[in-house]
């Protein structure tokens, strides 16, 4: 297998790309399209406005505005859309990408750096510098070679990053973004979220064991210890929210905060939850499992190329999920003053093109408002999490365990007793002073 390294030449590179495109086109037209039609022949197609949604009808929506909105309306309420696009994966991934972008810019401002403020300045103008850095990073990660160390447990090595992304996505599906906009509205949503968060250290330990290397191994063990230090404060700090709202369903917890946010009465719990979620995320003061100056890159030492990319994607999706969970538990979820109109454009009948522009029938004022407030609060939380990274060094594992067990657990219990006192003192809870009737 000894092949000499070839020099890179631009001409042959372009030629190879053209050839690739040619073959893709051939395969799509000759195989894929007929296959799609064959499948669609057997699949029962749904009804949209009394018409069967055939592929032809679907394609016609591009040119006919009167058909666009009903079809869109239909698509938006499908399960697939929820899972794949809006409260689900794509929304989370977009926020994750925005987080990376913001993290760069924000930390660069903080650290007097100029690097991340330049890529893309010519193309997009000021304000978007650094946006192309994301694209470049993604392309770089995709096109890098994946190296699996000798002696590694290959199936687990391949499966771990996939499981990481999937688990992160599974947390996202529990988050209610707007009234009715949640992928899975479960009665025990909070417990399920904690259960899924428990997967991540497990995946890390599996991956570190599979790498067959020393530094990942220590990193995996450290991840386990981090779980041990912060899982109980994490769970207990949310307990006072559960006591106040009387429900484990995240949507109901949000509704319970319609008149006041829980952070007003549970500031200590909120603090504990915030610190624990930082530890859960392995961000800077608690990034022991990947402490680069001690154990090279911790459990990520043997990752390369897209395996690393997927783990990073999963990490940032997880960051979104934890920030969103904080918003749902303490900051009143989507609750906020109504700033969006009920309807876009002038009232009454509208010409088709204007209907399309104002999203007639699709746009719903309160929902847009909820999404806006939820996203804004989530970004606030993400900013707070990034801020911590800019001003703190890493801590040591014994300090971490000590903090978790001696301080945070006690703090979360203190706030639980405050919540109990408020309930039995007749301030909160059913029939309390502050409970809306």
């Amino acid at each position: 297998m000894t092949t000499p390294i070839e020099d890179f030449r631009f001409g042959p590179f372009v030629a190879s790309v053209v050839w690739l495109l040619f073959w893709v086109l051939i395969i799509v037209t000759v195989i894929v399209l007929p296959l799609i039609f064959v499948i669609l022949f057997y699949v029962p197609l749904p009804l949209v406005n009394g018409e069967v949604l055939t592929p032809y009808l679907f394609l016609s929506m591009m040119i006919d505005p009167t058909r666009t909105l009903p079809i869109l309306n239909f698509l938006i309420y499908t399960e697939f859309f929820r899972v794949a696009v809006f409260p689900g994966f794509m929304y989370a991934a977009l926020i994750a990408a925005a987080t990376i972008f913001i993290e760069r810019k924000f930390l660069a401002r903080m650290q007097l750096r100029v690097g991340p403020s330049h890529a893309g300045r010519e193309a997009l103008g000021t304000g978007f510098e650094g946006l192309f850095q994301l694209v470049a990073d993604g392309l770089k990660l995709v096109s890098k070679e994946i190296i699996i160390p000798a002696g590694a447990d290959k199936p687990i090595f391949w499966a771990a990053p996939i499981a990481f992304v999937a688990a992160a996505a599974a947390v996202v599906c529990l988050i209610p973004v707007a009234p009715g906009w949640v992928v899975s509205n479960i009665d025990v949503g909070l417990i399920v979220a904690f259960a899924i968060f428990g997967f991540f250290p497990l995946i890390e330990v599996l991956f570190s064991w599979a790498s067959n290397s020393k530094y990942p191994f220590i990193g995996g063990l450290r991840a386990l210890h981090q779980l041990i230090a912060f899982e109980i404060p994490f769970i207990l700090s949310a307990l006072s929210v559960v006591i106040l709202s009387g429900s484990l369903n995240l949507t109901e917890i949000t509704y319970a905060q319609s008149s006041y946010w829980f952070i007003l009465f549970l500031p200590i719990s909120a603090f504990v939850f915030f610190m624990s979620s930082l530890a859960e995320l392995e961000r800077i003061p608690f990034d022991l499992p990947e402490a680069e100056s001690e154990i090279v890159a911790g459990w990520l030492t043997e990752t390369s190329g897209m395996i690393y990319g997927l783990i990073q994607l999963g990490t940032y999706v997880k960051l979104y999920a934890l920030a969103a969970l904080f918003v749902v538990l303490f900051l009143g979820g989507w609750m906020g003053p109504q700033i969006f109109p009920d309807q876009l454009g002038p009232p009454g009948e509208k010409p088709p093109l204007l209907q399309l522009l104002t999203l007639d029938g699709l746009y719903h004022g309160p929902t847009a408002n909820a999404i806006f407030w939820f996203t804004a609060k989530t970004f606030l939380m993400i900013h707070l999490m990034l801020l911590i990274r800019g001003i703190n060094p890493r801590i040591r594992i014994d300090i971490l365990l000590h903090t978790g067990w001696y301080k945070l657990i006690v703090l979360s219990f203190i706030n639980m007793f405050i919540a109990l006192a408020l309930i039995y003192g007749g301030v909160l809870g059913p029939g309390g002073l502050l409970t809306p009737n």
Binding site: T2, T3, I5, V83, G88, F89, L141, V142, S143, K144, E145, P149, A150, G151, P161, I162, V165, A166, A167, A168, A169, A170, C173, V183, S184, I186, D187, I191, V192, W209, S211, S213, K214, Y215, P216, F217, I218, L221, R222, H225, I228, E231, I232, I235, L236, L239, V242, I243, G246, L248, T301, M306, L310, I397, L401, W405, I409, F413, I423, Y424
Partner: protein
Amino acid sequence: MAGETAAQFSPIIYMLGFGLLVSIPALVISRLISPRRRYNPVKFLPMECGQVPSGEGRTHFMMQYYAYILMFVVFDVMAIFLYVWGVSLFSLPRSATLPIIGFLAIMFAAMGYSLYLAGRKGIW
């Protein structure tokens, strides 16, 4: 009923599946377009900071802090048990809080004692 309860959880399964749907092609595409140069076996050695690896990567290795691990096993269950009480607090009579306070007191005493012992032992 059981089926309905299970069906509540089906979106999680969809979401997991979608996560796989996104990440597997990413890996496959990456594998397809990235170079694969395998003529240097040293490249595939486990990371050892530029040295030839010595010793096993997977060994009997014990962090010193297993006092916390033992406590975790007990108190994690306790924490979840508290949830069962906390979620039904409003539907319980007020007198039901007293046993829970007693339970917490016992648990706190146990935790305090074990933390005290762990601290006195120093290095584990």
